[in-house]
């Protein structure tokens, strides 16, 4: 048995690289090695400060990457928290199964997917990640607990999407979905404006459906983009694009207004006016940006922020106004994502609600931070909410207003971790442990 060892004064960030923490980090290879209760992180694909603990300790869970049990008949799989979604998406389809919910990056770990109750392009019909989780193992102060949604209703709801505050998530059991093929059949079509985009999202009957928005298009072109609808297919070979990487921090003009506008224009015109149907490999469809390794470095040293909110179905107009403000601000934001969500959510702080969600990237500048603050206020006013996995800027009172079950979460967290050993920079910034 090897004792857990710490590396001191490690500087680390979330995916957005705008916020940094410095502290001691250990990377235990097995659960048994963990001898200290501290915030756990995976591959830090959350954008802001959710995985950070500045001045304190943190556990890197990525070395715990084993599949502990897999029943090929029932599709029940138990994994260590550090297994990535991408590994499952690679290993399982040849054996007839697929993770039921996959976020936009395969580099995210299963533990992180639980702590953020992530969603995918099939949220409207399949719900959120944790709705398919049937058991979790938590390390709490001095004890190890296996919990299930039936036996531990409240603790379960505080853990799913609960930012890792109820215990260190070490094992996750997932009910997989049958995978009837080995490729994605993707139909892409241009949509010319906002109204058409919303109408298509409403009408789509596809299993996987997402809209890519050109967030630089203004006026009558506002909301234009590409609608992507997809099903799993078989018997066809996908074209394999090359992997690329961003070796260095990009210069500041790399994502400046003209460059982004030109790129978005090309991206839009890539799909013929009449639309097209293409065959893609799973990873190319589900994790399109993972092909460009370390793409976050495109934003240079200062990093970036992503704003993602969801507003109720009847407030699509508010979202349109927000997009107009983004587009007119000229703050370069390459591809943005628009999606219609269903009601699936598993925890008190789970993001999804029936409505429309918009996600946009901004370089980390003062003007962008101001814009994000205004967007946050509009989301609150529309009874919507922002996604904590993306956030590094919001204010506590707004977040508490957006998540009406926050008091229930606090009650469970204070029971599970009364001394605040699991508190992160995000939890402190938003003062989440207090009502």
């Amino acid at each position: 048995m090897i004792a857990m060892r710490w590396r001191k004064d490690i500087a680390y960030t979330g995916w957005g690289r705008a916020l940094t923490a410095t502290g001691r980090v250990a990377r235990p290879v097995t659960e048994q090695e963990i001898d200290t209760i501290a915030p756990a992180f995976g591959n830090r694909r959350s954008y802001g400060d959710a995985p950070l603990n500045d001045g304190g300790a943190a556990l890197d869970m990525t070395a715990q990457d084993r599949i502990l049990a897999f029943d090929r008949k029932t599709g029940l799989i138990t994994v260590e928290a550090g297994v990535t979604i991408g590994a499952l998406a690679r290993i399982l389809p040849p054996q007839g199964w697929l993770p039921p919910v996959m976020p936009g990056t395969g580099i995210a770990t299963v533990g992180g997917a639980v702590a953020m109750d992530v969603h995918g392009k099939n949220h409207h019909n399949t719900g959120s990640f944790c709705q398919h989780v049937t058991a979790l193992t938590l390390l709490q102060n001095g004890k190890r607990r296996k919990i299930t949604p039936d036996r531990d209703k409240r603790l379960w709801a505080a853990t799913c999407g609960g930012l890792g505050q109820t215990g260190i998530i070490t094992q996750v059991t997932i009910q997989l979905k049958r995978c009837p093929g080995e490729v994605m059949i993707v139909t892409e079509r241009r949509v010319e404006d906002w109204a058409e985009h919303i109408a298509h999202l409403d009408a789509s009957g596809a299993t996987y459906c997402v809209g890519w928005i050109d967030a630089t298009a203004t006026g009558p072109k506002l909301g234009r983009g590409i609608l992507e609808e997809a099903e799993i297919g078989s018997g066809l070979a996908p074209a394999r694009p090359k992997r690329r990487s961003v070796p260095l921090d990009a210069p500041s003009w790399a994502l400046s207004g003209p460059v982004v506008r030109a790129f978005n224009n090309l991206y839009y015109r890539r799909v013929p006016a009449t639309g097209r149907t293409v065959v893609r490999a799973f990873e190319d469809f589900f994790f399109p940006l993972d092909k460009i390794h370390d793409w976050n470095r495109l934003y240079g040293k200062r990093g970036f922020h992503q704003f993602q909110c969801v507003v109720p179905l009847d407030r699509a107009d508010t979202l349109r106004a927000m997009l107009a403000e983004i587009a007119e601000s000229g703050l370069a934001s390459p591809l943005a994502v628009l999606k219609r969500m269903g009601d699936g959510r598993a925890g008190y702080l789970s993001f999804p609600m029936p409505g429309y969600t918009l996600a946009v990237d901004f370089p980390n500048r003062e003007s962008a931070r101001d814009l994000i603050a205004r967007l946050e206020n509009q989301a609150v006013a529309a009874r919507g909410r922002i996604y904590l996995a993306k956030d590094g800027l919001a204010k506590g009172p707004s977040v508490k207003a957006m998540y009406p079950e926050h008091p229930e979460w606090v009650a469970q967290v204070m029971k599970a971790d009364p001394d605040g050993k699991l508190a992160t920079d995000m939890v402190r910034r938003l003062d989440l442990r207090r009502l």
Partner: protein
Amino acid sequence: MEQTWIILGASSTMARAFMQKLAEQGAGLILAGRRMDDLKTNASDALARGASMAKPIAFDARDPGTFQPVIDLALKQAGQINCAVFVGSMPPQEEIDADPAMLDGVIADSFTGPARFLQMLAPHLEARGSGSIVGVGSVAGDRGRIGNYVYGGAKGGFATYLSGLRNRLGREGVHVMTVKPGPVDTAMTQGMDDLPFMTTPDAVADDILAGLKRGKNVLYTRRIWWPIMTVIRAIPEPVFKKMSI
């Protein structure tokens, strides 16, 4: 052809990454090591990833009595038999200096144990006329340094042994590859701050698989260690003995 891999030291972090990749290619795995609980978990992991077979079995480099059962298990498998050696131990040099009896264990773990095992396995591979042996040494074996010369001595001995084994088995269709990693982010190096040109178990595993495909004899990983060690080996002894690198 069906591939079976004997993994010596199958609880090590570096071995885990290598086994996971072999499992995904559908290989059969014999997981030999000391920590049986951990080996069982690794076997479940390998099977879930697509390994055609994954069996844990007790192996202790310091106990030659454990060697034959591993070989017997391997010989029951059809197809090609291969072996990857990940065993080794690196206690701090000061501890060995204080307790010279520790030296025997380090040499057994990193050199004589695996060498004796390979010596027992070699005739079977010769008879089958195929197979690969991967021996993980260390850049520390390229030159004895004040900081870890017992470990370095053991790894150096192992590398010389592998060179001879390659000479013998190469003519029988069996390939022997010596792998010399620099510092790898594993349990062994946890807690050591800022080691230069650090790599990861995953990258080492990729390098080993690529090296096997190309029929490499000696593989430095990361590759930068080849020029570095070439320079370090070339430093004249009168100078080197005064250095602490």
